[in-house]
Amino acid sequence: MEFFEYRNVVIEDPNSPESEAYRKLELNIRMSNVDKPIRVIQCTSATPQDGKTTTAINLAAVYAEKGKKVIIVDFDLRRPKIQRAFHKSNDVGLYDFVVDDKDYHDLILHDQSGIDILLSGHRLSYPHIVLQSKKIQDMINELRKEYDFVVVDTPPVLSVTDALIISKIVDGVIYVAAYNQTKKDNAKAGLDQLTENGANIIGAVLANIDVRKSHGVYGYYYYSNYPSKEKD
């Protein structure tokens, strides 16, 4: 039984240093890719509960705050969480699109924050096969046309292959690690797997820092342009 709470500080506490860190994250994504804007963004991490979903929802909130049309898609089909972050009922979503061939437009929820949401819906069998399907790829391509930004949440890299599969159809990957929690070896192994699979890692987020104790380290540390082709 997992109880967890997500805080969307950009919405709930817009003047906090934490929300400012997410605005900085958005700025850094934009500035580091001026010539080729990153519009479909995957948030993932090495291990569970490292902060990827929190990063995804807050980044989406920054886009909404800026008046951008943004959708968050829950591709964590094994342990979906986005419904919890937005307090939505997970009774319709990707399952209905994949299994019942419903029009995904009818499955999108419109949150009062301005963020559109596509949940997982009921549990799908063989998520890794579903995620590789042309149907999913085509949907992402359509969403790319329909939205300014598409933020994608996925399972952790070291748990299952899903995150690696999705990394091939997004524009860029944000790699999240939790301060004082994510093990160094795991963080490195996850990153290695992504780079070996040719993921375009556009940056990393160090989450879970208590800004009130950090003495000048501002909440979420971000570094951009990780050399994803380093091993080539």
Binding site: M1, E2, F3, Q83, D91
Partner: protein, 230 residues
């Protein structure tokens, strides 16, 4: 007292087998001091209890007529004890199962042996649709042994219903002690009988336990909690 969880609707589940037994059970409830009874037959697919609301309503009407004929002073309301699974929201929408009476409270149960369904997820899904989930007898779930999950369930918007039997030590001394701890920490909302034909209710004795250990006020709060009508 208000009993929010009973299996006295005849011929539906593992509760009352016929209308005569139902009437006897209702008489027992009245003797215990119950004035309002929620009739909550199981909807539990794996156990073969799949009688939809429309069918239950017919039997409920028959039961109410018999209660009236016999001049029994008790208010009856129809509900369902729903075994939660992924179809529950759809079943609520399609009126296959129903909330308690005319309220938004939904009585849900989970596996008594191992953790199969995700309880926090169930609470999230139901509250997001405007329902108030009432978790039926969580003290019987062996996978919830600590106080913390109760704190979170409550925080997420669920209410907690424990069985009178737990307070009477019928599930063992350990569970009785644990339930008293839950009450002490204000984590219990209702005590109900979960009355089947074979499990007599014991509400009166359980009330006395709470009154003795805590106070009459506390006992009233748990056995006569009128928020169930909201």
């Amino acid at each position: 007292m208000i009993d929010i969880h009973t299996h006295i609707l005849p011929c539906i589940d593992d509760g009352s087998p016929d209308i005569e037994t139902s009437i006897e059970l209702i008489k027992t409830e009245i003797e215990q001091g119950v004035t309002d009874i929620f009739v909550t037959p199981h909807y539990y697919h794996l156990r073969g209890f799949i009688s939809p609301v429309e069918e239950n309503k017919k039997l409920f009407r028959t039961l109410k007529e018999e209660v009236k004929k016999q001049g029994l002073e008790v208010n009856l309301y129809l509900g369902t004890e729903i075994y939660y699974n992924r179809k529950t929201l759809r079943n609520l929408k399609n009126n296959i199962v129903k909330p308690l009476g005319n309220s938004k409270h939904v009585l849900i149960e989970f596996s008594l042996s191992k953790e199969i369904e995700d309880i926090p997820e169930a609470i999230n899904n139901l509250t997001a649709k405007g329902y108030v989930p009432v978790i039926a007898h969580p003290e019987r779930y062996p996978y919830i042994k600590k106080i913390e999950p109760y704190v979170y369930m409550k925080k997420m918007g669920a209410k907690i219903q424990i069985n009178a039997s737990a307070l009477l030590g019928k599930y063992g001394g350990k569970i009785k002690k644990f339930v008293l701890k839950l009450i002490e920490k204000n984590l219990v909302d209702f005590v109900a009988s979960d009355m089947h034909n074979f499990r007599m209710d014991g509400l009166k004795d359980a009330y006395c336990v709470v009154e003795k250990v805590f106070s009459k006020e506390k006992a009233e709060q748990l056995f006569n909690n009128r928020t169930i009508f909201n």
